[in-house]
Assembly symmetry: C2
Homo-oligomer: 194 residues x 2
């Protein structure tokens, strides 16, 4: 068990809910559509899924799908690395978009996401306090299209809540058919768990 660490190449990861894991699941909230079953803990693993989990979601990190050179430059000046010692609050937000979204051309999706909804700009406003890592999963035949992982310090929790509330009011979110918000806290493993 360790915090997410991401390589330049696409890599597959598993989020497994059950009795084990570095994160304690504080809440599971169905924002839109069906929820996910509650469980005490969440385990993060590369490679194979953790055995014996109540449920597992998998996704892969990949290249940027919408971000422009200019946006990458803006994001680059506010680096928000994962696994910072003070970022003990986490969230995992699985999202599925509609068939209508996926049938749109690339420029239409970019127009809705970046221009009409300011998704990239809004996210960058909350850097470096709210770190994010996107995992793709639609192409794996999973029930969700994306798993977004958030990390932040306890004092930034109101900022995290503002960030996701703002995104949910955007035109892009009209295409979201299912969204579940898991809130987590990272707990050090006790030596007995060794």
């Amino acid at each position: 068990m360790q915090s997410p660490a991401y390589a330049a190449l696409p890599q597959q990861f598993h989020f497994s809910a059950g009795a084990r894991g570095e994160w304690s699941i504080v809440s599971v909230n169905a924002v839109t559509g069906e929820s996910l079953p509650a469980a005490p803990r969440l385990e993060f693993s590369a490679g194979e899924a953790a055995p014996g989990a109540k449920w597992t979601l998998r996704g892969f990190t990949s290249n940027a799908r919408y971000t422009t050179r200019a946006e990458l430059a803006t994001l680059g000046v506010k680096p928000a690395p994962l696994a910072r010692a003070d970022a003990t609050c986490e969230a995992l937000i699985p999202i599925a978009k509609s068939a209508a979204w996926w049938a749109l051309a690339q420029d239409t999706r970019r127009e809705i996401l970046a221009n009409a909804s300011q998704h990239i700009a809004i996210g960058s406003e909350y850097l470096p306090a709210i770190a994010r890592q996107l995992h793709h999963c639609r192409d794996l035949g999973e029930p969700f299209d994306f798993l977004t992982w958030f990390e932040f310090a306890p004092e930034h929790e109101p900022r995290f809540e503002q960030l996701v509330a703002r995104l949910r009011t955007t035109p892009e979110w009209r295409y979201v058919e299912r969204e579940v918000e898991l809130r987590l806290v990272r707990e050090r493993r006790r030596p007995a768990d060794g």
Copy 2:
């Protein structure tokens, strides 16, 4: 064994080279980088890989990554369905692009692929004679990034060769680190193969 048939949702497919399969492998040509081992036949399967294959490449169909509304409209007027009875010549071209390509921003990749290289426009010139289906595989940790499948009638073979030759001279192809071209012919199964 059947010809490719694609759904609206992403779906994973396997191309397996070995003793079996609907397609006879006419040639395996390393265009750039390492080749693939020769084999007599190629089998196409959804879901699970064909057992006992010499090698298997897998990829998934997905949403368009670069195509604009205007380009989709242009492509839409020249539909080129797969598995046409007279399209008995096939090609499978696995390609891997460099790390430098994947590190580029979306707008830079689009600029190189669509504007500087005219990839989409060149492909559409050869419709409906040369049907194409793209499969993505970089995100699966495969040795290639894309597997493009081509179908055409024997009399259109010179057009297919012109199409791929033109693409290989484009700026986009400077990012291609490995490319293998497999040429195939479809053979009806004999009743004994049942």
